[in-house]
């Protein structure tokens, strides 16, 4: 007759003991990820044929045109060591970046924009966008043709 209450008591104590202390939890979700300050210039290169943000330290601030020249020059030694590549061809100079009153950004290059691969176009669009700190669509223009306007696939 006293066996069942005794069992209940034991179970109660076991439950109380098990509830003690720090127990593992599930994943708790907080706010957005924090950001670290950054300096330098953003260039978009390719790692295993996919677009990747690369930041290269610079002494002073660079204009979008100067940035595009760096992009055209391709990865430097260290960057190549990390297997970074680029599809942007050389010979884009002279490059001009214009912004009209309605906020359309136009990049004018001397090479034929239709010969650029899509990846190369993305590299240029993303790099110019970062240089201008904008997500506005960007149009690539050469003497004969235009491409775009297009936006950077990595934006956001």
């Amino acid at each position: 007759m006293t066996r069942r209450p005794l069992l209940a008591l034991v179970v109660l104590i076991a439950v109380l003991s098990a509830g003690c202390g720090v127990r593992p939890s599930g994943v708790i979700r907080g706010g957005p990820a924090p950001a670290a300050p950054a300096e330098g210039v953003n260039l978009y290169f390719l790692a295993n044929s996919s677009l990747i943000l690369m930041r290269r330290p610079t002494r002073q601030h660079l204009s979008p045109t100067q940035t595009l020249v760096l992009l055209q020059d391709g990865p430097d030694g260290d960057e190549r060591a990390m297997n970074l590549t680029s599809e942007v061809p050389t010979g884009l100079d002279p490059i001009t970046v214009t912004i009209d009153a309605s906020g359309n950004v136009e990049v004018v290059v001397s090479a034929d924009v239709t010969t650029l691969s899509n990846t190369a176009a993305d590299q240029i669009v993303c790099t110019v966008g970062d240089a201008l700190s904008t997500t506005a669509p960007i149009t690539l223009t050469s003497k004969a043709a235009t491409r775009g306007p297009r936006t950077c696939p990595l934006a956001g």
């Binding site: 994943v27 990820a33 924090p34 912004i99 956001g156």
Partner: protein, 497 residues
């Protein structure tokens, strides 16, 4: 019914009221303490943990936001190590992960929970308590976003450009592991305090139960004492009434009942005593006229033989009935002496065999009764009362039993047994218990009998007056046997009766 309520069954199963009270109080105290302390404990624990987690998350977030500007991306191994080093502190260890590379250190990201790493990919700060090597730790994971480089001077007319987000993802992930052992110790102290609270509550509950038990059980014990005394025949027993509660009501009811009982029993006893005194008085009053009548009938007896016809029969009838009445009155006087306790023993050393033979001889029964009487048995008895016993038993056997009637004595170590038996059919089972009752007639068909109806009752009272007894039984071979048991004080020096 009991299966509905196991708690009640448990309490009901406990043996005494005190145990039940104790168990009930202890259960109440402990369950209340467990509830309060348990809720308290859980809340405090959650607060402690939440505070520790929030502080840790805030710390790591602040450290990330105050990192020196990150120059190169993808980060070199040196950069990863530097980030991890700057994000590590006294209490926590951080690891910086970029794709398949990580900062050098003890912390291996592969040992971190997979679900946490998946959640980090969503671009939010996440954390999780896990057990690492048996110790509780907090793992915080987050992506490291990058602030955009400073905005260049706006080209002319560029004010309409929509601004991009202030930060961008970098594929850099930071994991920070912080030990929760200090918190665990605090929580363990909380638990100790909760258990202590429970123990103190238990002690208090038991103390209260003992006090309450005393308050309830003392009147109950008092009531039981009084009931026992009443049951043992002490009609003056009363319970002490304390307070005005239900138990006091019970005690009061008990006292009223006992009082009523005492009054009724007193009335009955008084009425019985009066009735007995009346019988005694009547008997005494009848003695004198009966003596005169006896004297007259003695004369009539002499004359009756000479009286003719009906007159002679009438004279003999009157004489016979007068003798019978005299016997009845004498027996009544004898019985009333026993009832009033005035009967006394006149002890003497008696040769039992000789005394029994004298009794039979005096009544002329010597040739009708077989005797088996060992010689030389001397007992200390009242010879007159022994004579009454033997005479009544033998007379009864001769009247109601059938020959052969026998008297035999057995000397036992501690007592003397005198058996009076007959060869008749014996006593019917429904007669046996009543055979010593006064005026009991075994044969209802026989309205009148020779005896007074008091003979066996008087014989038993006499045996009892000697400290012995008289029993009736049937022999296996047939016939009733009445046995007188008389103690032998001579064989027992301690017994002075």
């Amino acid at each position: 019914m009991n299966s509905v309520n196991p708690a009640a069954r448990f309490l009901g199963g406990a043996r005494s009221l005190r145990t039940r009270l104790l168990v009930a109080f202890a259960l109440l105290g402990v369950s209340t303490a467990a509830l309060v302390a348990g809720v308290d404990y859980v809340q405090a624990r959650d607060i402690i943990l939440q505070k520790a987690q929030d502080t840790a998350v805030l710390t790591i977030t602040e450290r990330i936001e105050t990192l020196p500007p990150l120059g190169d991306l993808p980060p070199s191994q040196a950069t990863l190590d530097e980030i991890a080093g700057r994000l590590s502190g006294r209490d926590d260890t951080a690891v910086a992960v970029y794709r398949d590379r990580r900062s050098v250190g003890r912390l291996d990201p592969d040992t971190l929970p997979r679900e946490l790493r998946r959640a980090v990919g969503e671009g939010i700060v996440v954390w999780q308590r896990v057990s690492m090597n048996g110790r509780p730790v907090l793992v915080i994971g987050t992506q490291l976003r990058l602030g955009r480089p400073g905005r260049p001077a706006q080209p002319p007319g560029g004010s309409a450009l929509p601004p991009g987000p202030a930060t961008q993802p970098s594929e850099l992930e930071i994991y920070s592991v912080r030990s929760l052992e200090p918190e665990q110790q605090s929580i363990a102290r909380l638990a100790t305090r909760a258990w202590l609270t429970g123990a103190v509550a238990l002690v208090f509950a038991v103390l209260l139960a003992v006090l309450a038990g005393r308050g309830v059980l003392e009147p109950v014990r008092e009531l039981r004492r009084a009931t026992n005394r009443l049951g043992e025949g002490d009609l003056t027993a009363r319970a002490q009434i304390r307070g005005t509660d239900e138990l006091a009501d019970v005690a009061r009811t008990f006292n009223n009942t006992a009082e009523t009982l005492e009054r009724h029993v007193g009335d009955l006893r008084r009425m019985e005593a009066e009735a007995r005194r009346f019988v005694a008085d009547v008997s005494h009053e009848l003695r004198t006229p009966l003596a005169a009548m006896t004297a007259v009938t003695d004369v009539l007896d002499d004359e009756a033989q000479r009286l003719p016809g009906d007159a002679g029969r009438a004279a003999r009838l009157v004489s016979g009935e007068t003798h019978k009445l005299t016997r009845l009155v004498n027996d009544l006087i004898e019985v009333s002496r026993f009832d009033t306790g005035t009967a006394t023993l006149a002890l003497d050393d008696v040769d039992v065999a000789e005394a029994i033979r004298a009794t039979l001889r005096a009544r002329g029964w010597s040739d009708r009764v077989r005797t088996d009487l060992p010689q030389g048995v001397v007992a200390r008895l009242d010879p007159r009362r022994l004579d009454v016993i033997i005479a009544n038993l033998v007379s009864n056997a001769l009247r109601h039993g059938a020959p052969p009637v026998s008297v035999r004595t057995h000397v036992r170590p501690d007592r003397l047994d005198i058996e009076v038996g007959d060869g008749g059919p014996g006593l019917a089972p429904d007669v046996l218990p009543h055979v010593f009752n006064r005026f009991y007639k075994a044969d209802t068909a026989r309205a009148r009998s020779e005896g007074s109806g008091l003979g066996l009752a008087i014989a038993r009272e006499n045996a009892r007056l000697h400290g012995g007894d008289l029993t009736a039984a049937n022999r296996p071979a047939g016939g009733a046997v009445f046995t007188v048991h008389l103690p032998r004080p001579g064989s027992e020096p301690g017994d002075t009766r």
